[in-house]
Symmetry: C2
Subunit: 208 residues, 2 copies
DNA sequence: TTGCTTGTTGGACGATCGTACAACAAGTGC
DNA sequence: GCACTTGTTGTACGATCGTCCAACAAGCAA
């Protein structure tokens, strides 16, 4: 007679997952916990509960909760980057339209969501104390700015001004985004986008 | 014969302080702990140790550590405001010079210090979960922007443009300041100031 | 000097934290 | 069917957290 399994499929003790898939589910659970409960509620146990796994599993995939937060930040940053890519693609080939689409997308869902703020804050709080995370931040910031410089170059902005303009526009978008998340009633996402686009025109015509 | 005190002055068990002075010493201790150890090391015990008092005293002056962090934020914000006031006063009466001094001071010590970042982050992390702290943030942000609008009005910026320009400049300064604290090697404080001043010219001449 | 108010101490308390680890079971190869 | 690898569980552990509170003492008034 065939062997009788201790559990049917429905009451199986647990199911194994592909390592990458499990890591991703933990990252997504971490993002949800941060969005819902903020930095204060972001613990190993809360994340494991959110992901539907045992607390010990978190330690099996990440050397510490800092590393999980850092990977969560990178994951969301990649989503943001993808959303901007989609907006750039939809904007067509006109350089000016692409530049405008860049800032417009920065204030549209899913980027301009207050739920992302806690993830950013949790990551920022690690930058000054952990050199590896500081390096990760530097790299992602540099990549973000490099892409913006590319867009500005397409618009015919002269080389010497690329760096300054990209730093300024990045800071402007970040500052607007931060304030939009912190006090949503001060101004709307639409107004933030309008302000950024208007500033874009001013900042890309300086020196001439 | 005169009474004999249990302690000489040097070995006195503790000394009482004016309530306001004690609150201030706790606030300053909280700021130092945040600057030195970051948000993760900001505990009641660490603050009490830094202030040279017993842990229980913190609870005697503040209903919780959140309130202490909020007051620390307000205290540093007041110092920042005072530093800007001093810069404005030193700039004389020319409206344009005063506006430039406003942004220049934002990237000079003691404002542009990475040590302040942890205090800002600790405060931001409380905004979304505590309505009273959210209101405090709204008020301080509104006050900051109102003063900037005043400076812009002095420069002859038309009324309808005041709001947008103030929001944009505030966001630009905040974004530059944040990035300067997070990755100091990406650009210097001097470059941040130069970028902000250049953007100032561009942003205050739009529409004309 | 005496008594009173209250700022201050210092430890106890329960909760929660991150981490470590032995036991278990799912899936794979033989 | 059996052994083996390893993803996964669940708990135990020590440390640290915020809060609480009874006892103490500093300073003031009488």
């Amino acid at each position: 007679m065939s062997s009788k399994p201790a559990f049917t499929r429905a009451e199986r003790a647990y199911t194994r997952a592909e390592p990458d898939a499990r890591r991703l589910s933990l990252v997504e659970a971490c993002a949800r916990v941060l969005a819902r409960e903020g930095v204060a509620g972001c613990s190993v146990r809360a994340i494991a509960l959110e992901a539907g796994v045992s607390p010990g599993l978190v330690g099996h995939y990440f050397p510490g909760i800092d590393a999980l937060v850092a990977e969560t930040y990178a994951h969301i940053e990649a989503q943001v980057s993808a959303a901007i890519d989609a907006a750039l693609h939809a904007a067509g080939s006109d350089p000016r339209a692409r530049l405008e689409a860049f800032v417009t997308a920065s204030f549209a869902p899913p980027i301009a969501s207050g739920e992302l703020l806690a993830t950013w804050i949790a990551f920022w709080s690690l930058v000054r104390s952990r050199t590896d995370i500081a390096r990760q931040h530097d790299e992602q910031y540099a990549a973000y700015r490099a892409r913006l410089e590319g867009l500005l170059a397409e618009c015919g902005l002269p080389g010497p001004e690329l760096r300054r303009a990209a730093i300024a526009i990045t800071a402007l978008v970040d500052g607007l985004w931060l304030e939009l998340c912190l006090s949503p009633q001060a101004f709307s996402a639409e107004e933030a986008g309008a302000i950024a686009r208007q500033a874009l025109v001013a900042l890309t015509s300086t020196g001439r």
